[in-house]
Structure formats: structure tokens, C-alpha cells
Symmetry: C3
């Protein structure tokens, strides 16, 4: 069993799904949900963005439901949090943040890729990259009746949109698909991490 | 006009829709919504789960919109509550609970059936059975800005998932489709009713 | 470049999108969202109703994503509010209300038209007209964790539903498609404006 690029990307994608599921399940514990609520939030946070993207593209059933490994991984994340939450909730916030930024970059890039494959315009491909990255967290917040965090704080969705835009730009100037994806991912990841480190926020109309 | 099994199933399905619509409309009265809000909540509670399932399966337009009888029945439920809410709201809670458990079982089984017809994996078919059963109530709670009840209390979605899983298991061990559906429905209904009677709840991570 | 009826309708549609985007972005300012939240609310308010309609009809990708001008116009509305909100927020409420009623009428009519084109039943076509008109505002309210306004106050969704119903009725009695659309739009607009002027509300079950 060789580790081809395609196979590696798939493994990285599953890793991102696991991480987002753990974050979703952690939010369920803070919100005092029961075991089922914890599983739903893990699932929705990890797979919600990709599901919205696929429904909008008409690529149904969404890949998150076509391949049973995705829900299985999401529920594994839920189980990890349920049984080991004392450790998970005490993980260093900076570690979580850096891993999350990597997951965000991966989801944004894969979302943009899929939108371009389906011949969406550049503007729409950027939007779908952003939705893939932040859609799951938005559903999680709505289910917890909180105004989604992406709407009022941090440079988060913005990092996803910037990464997607850079990826498309790189393709336009003749870079290969792999190089473009890599460049976009790096921009998203870096912008997210630096913005947390420097306490950047988007402007608010006063 | 004979009462074939297919026709009976259809009538039972309409009965479940009517009941869920009545419950949705009752929540609208508690939430002080106007007549339109009451109609929207009846529609969303009764048909929301099946609509989400069909959109995820790519079976659009959803059957709830292809057959005008479904919205018509939902609005009939809304009208019943609007004009006779003093009686509806005073119905014995236990009667409502038992009828609701029957509706839940029916929706879970029909959702699993449709997912299997579209060749979803067993895990995903169970999830879609659960979504068909509880999706409508979840939308209702989100519209009322409440954390969805299924996420933090009762053995409700769990009963739907268990019934769906049993149904698939029965098919695997060679029972007919009808027997499997019946077994799954009985498990869902019984688990739901017994859990209310015995005050069962799912564990919460402390 | 001639101003054909089709082209004029398209321009009017873009105008409605711009207006709804401005209203969505204004709600974002009241809710203290940042620039990204403002863009999301402009997009969701202006295009959400049509996106839900197209997803339900199976007409994916939705027209709001197939034609890049729609998101571009929505973000233009967001930019207008971000940079000139002191003027926008001080616009006379009655002017906004009249323009909004025009947008509502347009969206309801175009939604009904598209549903009839896809051979939905009259009842479902009326529902989809209503969803096209009020779906965006409903998403906006949910994201701000408010009970959607259409569910408890004003004659708003009702006006959209009435306009859609009249449009279908006019077709049935032999009027041309253009006449029917015009009659439905006028009914929706007038009912909305008169209901605000006369302080009409729907009944609430006491």
C-alpha cells in the first residue's frame, strides 16, 4: 500500500475531519449537551461545511455521506472527547489554534478545488472555499443559539477566503494545481495564526 | 378502492405528518407566534426532516413538495391547533407522547428505507433515518431560538437511530423488508415510551 | 444594447438584490458584527431565499451562484452600508419599507414563476414564492439568534403568499403570464404597504 499524493491528501482530509469533530464535541460539553448532542455537534462541525458546499453544487449525496469513513471519523472524535474530555479540554489553546488553522486551510483549499472542478466562477469558488471552511462551525453555533463567531470576531473566515483567492490567482499566473493549492493553504494558515498572535480583528462599522 | 399495504403505509405516513404538524403548531402558540408563524412551524416540524433527507440524497424536489397532500395535511394540523388550541393544549401529555413515539418510529423507518433504496451505506442509512425523525423538531427549535431538545434531553433521537439500526440488522440476517421495518419500528417506539416512563436520559460528560 | 422585457426583468431583479443586501448589512451593523459578518448577512438576506428555492427544486447550482453578478451585487450593497452607514441607517423608514415591499413582490413573483416552470403544483408554487420572498430575512434573523420577524409580526410573508396565489389564479382564468405576474406583484406590494399603513397584524391564538 503506497503513499501516493492522492492517498496522502485523503489521510490529511480525515485528520482535519477528526480535529474539527473534537472541537465540535468540546463545544457540546461546554454547552452541557448529552452524548447524542455531542455526537451531533461533532458531526455537524466536522462535515457541515462540506455538506453545504456539495448541496449547493448539486453534488449529492455529499461526499461526507458517500464515504462512510467521514461520519465514522467524526464519531471517533466525539468518542475521544466523551471519554477523555478532561485531557482534551485542558489541551494548550495555542496547540488547538494551530491545528485548527491547518484544518481550516485544508478545508478551504479542497472546497475551492471542488468548486473549480464544477466550473464555478472564481468569485463563487472563493465563496465555496470559505463556506467549506467555516460552515460547520456556523451550524454548531446556531445549534447552540449563539451568534456564529465568524460573524463578529477574529480573522477566520477571512483567512479561508484569502487562501482560496490566492489559490485561484496562482493558477491564473500559470502555476500548477498542486503549487497553487499549496500557496493558498500556506496563506490561509499563516494569516490565521499571525492574526491570533497579533490580535488582529476586522473593522466594525462604528 | 382497496386498502393495499402500500396504501395503508401512505395513510399512516399522512397521519404521522398530521400529528407532527399539530405538535409544531402547539409550540408556535407557546412561543406567541401569529397565524403565519403557526403555519410555518407546523410545516417545518412535520416535513422538515424528510425534506433534509431528500435534499441530502439528491432526491429533489423532496417528496413533501412533489405530493401536494403533505403540505395540505400540515396546514390542516395548523388549522386544528389555531381553532381548537384550548383542547389541543390540554390533551393528556402521555397520549401526545405515545402518538409522537409512533410518528417518530414511522419517520425513522421510512427515512432508512429511502436511504437504502438509494444505496447509502448502513451507517449513513441509520443517520438519515434519525434525521428524518428529528430534523423537523430541530428546525422548529432553531426558529424559536431554543437549543434543540434532542441535543440535551431524553432518549429521542437515540430511539430513532436504534430502530433504524435494528431494521438494517434484521435485513442482514435474512428477514423480509416488511418484517425488518416492523421490528425496527417496534424497537424505536418501545425504547422511546419506556425511556419516558423510566425517566431515562443519555449520559452527560461531567 | 436594447432594453427587452427579459433584460428589464433582470435589471429589476438585480435592483431587488441590492436593496435586500443593504437591509441585511444594516441589520449586521445593529448587531455589532464585523466587516465579514456584514458581508455574510448582506449575501444571506439578498440571496438566501432564492438559494433555498433552487435547492428544493433541484435546480443546483442555484442561479445566485451560477451568475457571479448576484453575489457581486450583494457585496456591493454590503460595501455601501459599510462606508455610508450613517446615511443608510438614517434613511426614512417609510422609503425603505416601500422599496422593500417592491423587492418582496418581485422575489415572490419570480419564485412562483420558477416553481411553475418546474411543474410544481399550485400550492407548492405559492409556498416557494413565499420562501423566495422571506427566506433570506429568515436566515438573517436566525444568524442573529432572533426569532424570525415573519413568524410573529406584520403582514409580510402573507403578502408574498397572497401575491403568488393571485398570480396563479390569473393564469387559470386565462390571463397571459406577464399580466398574471404583474397582477400578483401589485397585490403583494399593495397588501404589504397598506398593512403597514393601517397597522394590520395577523391574528394570534390567544
Amino acid at each position: 500500500m503506497q503513499l501516493t499524493p492522492g492517498r496522502m491528501l485523503y489521510l490529511v482530509d480525515l485528520a482535519g475531519t477528526l480535529l474539527f469533530a473534537i472541537e465540535g464535541a468540546s463545544a457540546a460539553i461546554t454547552g452541557k449537551l448529552d452524548l447524542l448532542g455531542l455526537m451531533v455537534l461533532a458531526f455537524a462541525t466536522a462535515l457541515g461545511g462540506g455538506i453545504i458546499r456539495d448541496v449547493l453544487l448539486g453534488a449529492t449525496p455529499p461526499s461526507a455521506l458517500r464515504d462512510w469513513r467521514y461520519p465514522a471519523i467524526a464519531f471517533t472524535g466525539a468518542a475521544v472527547v466523551f471519554f477523555f474530555h478532561q485531557f482534551v479540554l485542558e489541551a494548550p489553546a495555542q496547540l488547538i489554534m494551530v491545528l485548527d488553522a491547518a484544518g481550516l486551510a485544508l478545508f478551504a483549499i479542497s472546497g475551492t478545488e471542488k468548486a473549480l472542478l464544477r466550473e464555478m466562477s472564481p468569485l463563487v469558488a472563493v465563496l465555496l472555499g470559505g463556506i467549506t471552511g467555516v460552515g460547520g462551525g456556523t451550524i454548531r453555533d446556531v445549534l447552540l443559539t449563539k451568534v456564529p463567531g465568524v460573524l463578529h470576531a477574529d480573522v477566520y473566515a477571512t483567512a479561508a477566503l484569502a487562501g482560496s483567492a490566492i489559490m485561484i490567482l496562482c493558477r491564473r499566473i500559470g502555476m500548477t494545481d498542486a503549487q497553487s493549492a499549496f500557496a493558498g493553504g500556506i496563506v490561509c494558515f499563516t494569516l490565521r495564526v499571525v492574526s491570533v498572535w497579533r490580535h488582529w480583528n476586522l473593522p466594525v462599522a462604528a
